[in-house]
């Protein structure tokens, strides 16, 4: 038998400490729209397979094993119903791995907020709050 009780206890404590830290960071960052670093991406109707919204577009990447995707879909639908000229497109990440790779999407849901020309203004990974989406849309429409 392995006699790793002291080592094992240390592993438990370190694992729980790191997991707590990661959990707090994830909770704080989850769904918050952020500026897109590096090269600014521009998505076209051809990339998306659907027309862009007249003033802005919310692009949601979802997957089959994604618990918060349904709630995200509901939030984005509510926002598009409120703000005229905004389209909501949902893309199955698995079937568009080309886009997933080129945009470096690691999680679902990831929401991209595009302006009228298709430029990615903000990006949120994880379920966003409605107020944050509206705020980011204001930025996309205002420019």
């Amino acid at each position: 038998m392995l006699s790793c009780s002291v080592t094992g206890l240390a592993v438990v404590l370190v694992t729980l400490a790191v997991a707590t830290l990661v959990g707090v960071i994830v909770r704080r960052r989850n769904g918050v729209p952020r500026d897109v670093g590096g090269d600014v991406e521009r998505l076209t109707t051809g990339d998306l397979g659907a027309p862009l919204g007249e003033r802005a577009t919310l692009v949601q990447f979802s997957s089959a094993f994604c618990q918060p995707c349904r709630a995200t879909r509901r939030i984005l639908s509510e926002v598009t119903a409120m703000v005229p000229g905004v389209a909501h497109l949902e893309i199955d990440a698995e079937s568009r791995l080309d886009l997933v790779r080129s945009l470096n999407i690691m999680r679902t849901p990831t929401v991209l907020i595009l302006d009228a020309s298709g430029r990615v203004v903000k990006r949120a990974s994880g379920q966003p709050r409605k107020a944050d989406v509206i705020g980011a849309l204001g930025l996309a429409v205002g420019e």
């Binding site: 009780s5 094992g8 206890l9 592993v11 707590t20 909770r27 990440a93 791995l97 999680r107 679902t108």
Partner: protein, 132 residues
């Protein structure tokens, strides 16, 4: 198929306790039992979920899709089996590393409601796009 999210959190908490005990006691048998629990949960027959149903009688305020947590149970099973191989063959880094990884994910789920196993889906698909 829909599940009670409270049962999922309860199961994650119980899994956290069991995996911590595995690491402290070094018991391969306990890890084998947890692997069986992961396997049963994969087929919708979670023993921990049944314990929850036995204790809590109130109906859930909302239900969740069962597919994401089941996928996470499969990821948990892979780590539990890897840990089991480590304990049986006495490769200590594998035993501790794999069990700690499973503990890490179970604790994140129990304490924060964050499903790390679910997050692995897209990453696995990015690496193995044709694995259907």
């Amino acid at each position: 198929m829909q599940v009670d999210p409270r049962a999922l959190r309860f199961s994650a908490a119980l899994t956290t306790v069991v995996l911590a005990l595995v690491l402290v006691t070094g018991s391969a048998w306990l890890l084998a039992a947890q692997a069986v629990v992961f396997a049963l949960s994969l087929f919708g027959a979670s023993p921990y979920g049944m314990i929850f149903k036995g204790i809590v009688k109130s109906p859930p305020s909302e239900l969740e899709d069962a597919a994401p947590p089941r996928f996470a149970q499969a990821v948990g099973l892979v780590f539990a089996l890897a840990g089991l191989v480590g304990y049986v063959t006495q490769i200590t880094p594998l035993a501790l590393g794999a069990t700690a990884a499973a503990l890490f994910a179970a604790f994140l789920n129990a304490a924060f409601g964050f499903c790390l196993g679910c997050e692995m889906f897209l990453i696995i698909r990015r690496i193995f796009p044709a694995a259907n």
